[in-house]
């Protein structure tokens, strides 16, 4: 037990004290130096990368700038796209997890606001017979319909994605060819991105414990194929192409039409271009 006032410290103790302090500082310095070395080794890996094609030898992501287009004046609401997407991407077969879906807007004579329904509507589930099959119930066939139309929806692969901004780990990101992807091996499943997306495009994959969304069938487009929904659409309401190619379907679509995007006020700059939207489409 020490006395109350500060005692005279023997020289030996001062020496030991100084030595131990020096050792501590040296240790800290060594540790810091090691870390700096490790950090610079890490940063040496970043940058332009090697000259080889990425992500596959046959596909170089620097050469493409993908975009999607929807002609909502053509859509017939057959929902082949919804079925095909679920089949292609192994999405849960129920009425609550969708990478893409179609909305129906029906204006009844005398009413100001449209009736809107989609795949989760119980009447539509009944009409299809189960949550695994998708169909719009023909419930307005005897009604006085002023105007009606279908609007396909999917992830907009925004240029300034709110979902990427809020991801705490870096599990979701935008590729160089313009596709927003999710790393299923890194995602922790906090679902902040699901909250942040203004379009409701993201959902929680309960089977894998990570979030999920439309990937524009990245595994297909990097092989020269079209996304499954575009492939299967019987009336060519959905289009996909490369903005780097002036003559691609999407480039021509944007040039030849007055196109719109959904919720432009968010500032997300979506890359799915629509014609045939309506004032009530959100």
């Amino acid at each position: 037990m020490k006395r109350d006032d500060k005692p005279a410290v023997p020289a030996r103790r001062i020496f030991l004290r100084d030595i131990s302090r020096g050792a501590a500082c040296a240790g800290a310095a060594a540790g810091a130096a090691g870390l700096l070395a490790a950090a610079s080794a890490d940063s040496g890996k970043s940058g332009t990368g090697s000259a080889e094609s990425f992500p596959t030898p046959d596909y170089d992501w620097n050469k493409h700038r993908w975009a999607y287009a929807v002609d909502a004046t053509k859509c017939i609401g057959c929902l082949r796209c919804v079925e095909a997407c679920k089949r292609e991407n192994n999405v849960a077969l129920d009425a609550h997890h969708f990478r893409t879906w179609v909305e129906r807007y029906v204006y009844i004579d005398g009413e100001e606001k449209p009736h809107v329904d989609s795949m989760s509507d119980p009447l539509n589930i009944e009409a299809s017979g189960s949550e695994k099959l998708y169909r719009f119930a023909n419930r307005y066939k005897d009604a006085k319909v002023d105007k009606a139309f279908f609007v396909p929806k999917l992830c907009n692969h925004c240029t300034h994605p709110a979902c990427v901004q809020v991801c705490p780990t870096g599990a979701t990101y935008k590729t160089r060819d313009g596709v927003v992807l999710i790393d299923h091996k890194y995602c922790i499943g906090c679902q902040y991105c699901v909250q942040a997306c203004p379009y409701g495009a993201r959902f929680f994959n309960h089977a894998k414990g990570v979030t999920d969304k439309c990937t524009w069938c990245y595994h297909r487009i990097t092989k020269g194929l079209l996304p499954a929904c575009v492939e299967v659409c019987p009336v060519e309401a959905r289009m996909f192409g490369d903005l780097n190619d002036r003559d691609s379907v999407v480039s021509r679509f944007i040039r030849d039409n007055r196109v719109q995007v959904l919720k432009p006020e968010t500032g997300n700059a979506p890359n799915v271009y629509y014609i045939g939207l309506d004032k009530e489409v959100t």
């Binding site: 129920d94 809107v116 989609s118 949550e131 705490p168 922790i188 902040y192 909250q195 929680f204 309960h206």
Partner: protein, 400 residues
């Protein structure tokens, strides 16, 4: 996990992916706990930083309470995550544009700060147990004391400086820790109910009142249990604190709703339907009415009237209990309420919490009460009322 379990009923039109509500009751408990941490730390720093002597009886207690609460804070998040084993990804590669990424570092920093603060505050007792205690606890305390039994005036001076410095750092740290929770919600563009610049201050102020209320409740209860007199200046001080911050909190919350209704952006119809429908009882009647206005009026009355003694204690106790419930409801109405308003601006979803299961009410309730259990255990080891029981300790009392 069967997704169909969580599928919600809805009215109007909601996006198909919105029929499963992403953030459950666990995400209501999480900001509630961090709020209680910030609040109890604020009470403690009223003594340790601002030197307000009337708070001395609760200063050490609320410091320990803050630590017990903080330790439990990651729990609701870990229960909610799809991959809790990967939780450290947010610290290994924090995405600095994300408020959540800040959580890992802010929470770690704050936990360490609280541990240090409590260590310094209770160091004399730890040293006491290390030198005079018995059994495994003695060895734990020997490690915890870092092998030093120095309780000289020189050492204690150092300790006091550290306590002060940590408390000073702790105030902006607490504000940051809980302010960012408000930012998590307020910064999102996707939900009108959340998107507001006022969210961080609203969360902060409700945090302070919830922490103060908890300290009041526990102070009264522990004093009764220990058969020790309740010090009136302390109760009065706590009442003033609660009263002042409650007024502030109510004004800001009112401003937030007023702004939203005044601006009346697209989708306001559904919000008004929500406010005048499902939200009437939990928001207007319970959170605002019973939980905020009633305590405010009660406290105004006892303060203006200059009440004393048991009347004061009883009124403050009841007000604190109501405020504690109100803040929990506020978290519920913000987190769950925000998700019940669809992003389409055309529909409402209704959240039906499950009772069992990882994200159920029982799990959430257990997490909510765990800090109190921890607090109970901690007070068996070290005593926040050290001055009174120091004599008892010196007589060789071995903690159970």
């Amino acid at each position: 996990m069967d997704a169909l379990h969580h599928a919600s009923a809805f009215s109007g039109y909601v996006y198909p992916n919105e029929t499963i509500i992403p953030w459950s009751v666990l995400i209501v408990v999480y900001p509630y706990l961090t709020g209680l941490v910030a609040g109890s730390f604020t009470v403690s720093s009223l003594y340790h930083v601002f030197g307000m002597q009337q708070f001395k009886p609760v200063a050490r207690f609320s410091m320990l309470l803050a630590l017990c609460l903080m330790v439990c804070v990651p729990m609701p998040l870990l229960l909610h995550l799809g991959h809790p084993e990967r939780a450290f990804n947010a610290m290994i590669t924090p995405h600095l544009t994300s408020a959540f990424a800040i959580f890992g570092y802010a929470a770690s920093f704050y936990t360490i700060l609280l541990m240090l603060e409590n260590w310094f505050v209770y160091r004399p007792q730890i040293v006491q147990i290390a030198t005079e205690g018995k059994g495994p606890l003695k060895w734990v305390c020997r490690v915890a004391s870092l092998g030093s039994n120095d309780l000289s005036e020189y050492a204690m001076n150092y300790d006091h400086k550290w306590i002060y410095a940590l408390a000073v750092i702790g105030i902006p740290a607490a504000l940051g820790l809980h302010g960012y929770v408000g930012f998590v919600f307020g910064s999102l563009k996707s939900r009108e109910w959340w998107s507001s610049d006022l969210m961080p201050p609203v969360f902060l102020l409700s945090a302070v009142i919830s922490g103060t209320a908890l300290v009041i409740l526990l102070y009264v209860l522990t004093s009764l249990a220990r058969k020790v007199a309740i010090e009136e200046p302390c109760v009065k001080g706590l009442a003033y604190t609660l009263w002042g911050f409650l007024m502030f909190a109510l004004i800001l919350e009112g401003l937030e709703i007023a702004s939203m209704l005044y601006r009346s952006r697209e989708g306001i119809d559904v919000i008004v339907t929500f406010l005048t429908g499902p939200l009437v009882v939990p928001f207007f009647i319970l959170q605002i009415g019973l939980g905020s206005v009633v305590p405010l009026l009660t406290l105004t009355y006892v303060i203006v009237r200059g009440s004393k003694g048991r009347a004061l204690t009883a009124a403050v106790f009841v007000s604190a209990a109501l405020v504690l419930c109100a803040v929990l409801l506020m978290r519920w109405n913000v987190v769950i309420g925000g998700q019940e308003i669809a992003k389409t601006g055309k529909g409402l979803v209704s959240y039906e919490p499950e009772v069992f299961g990882r994200e159920g009410l029982i799990a959430a309730g257990s997490v909510l009460f765990l800090p109190l259990i921890l607090m109970f255990v901690a007070t068996r080891i070290v005593s926040p009322w050290a001055e009174e029981t120091r004599a008892a300790v010196l007589r060789g009392r071995t903690p159970a």
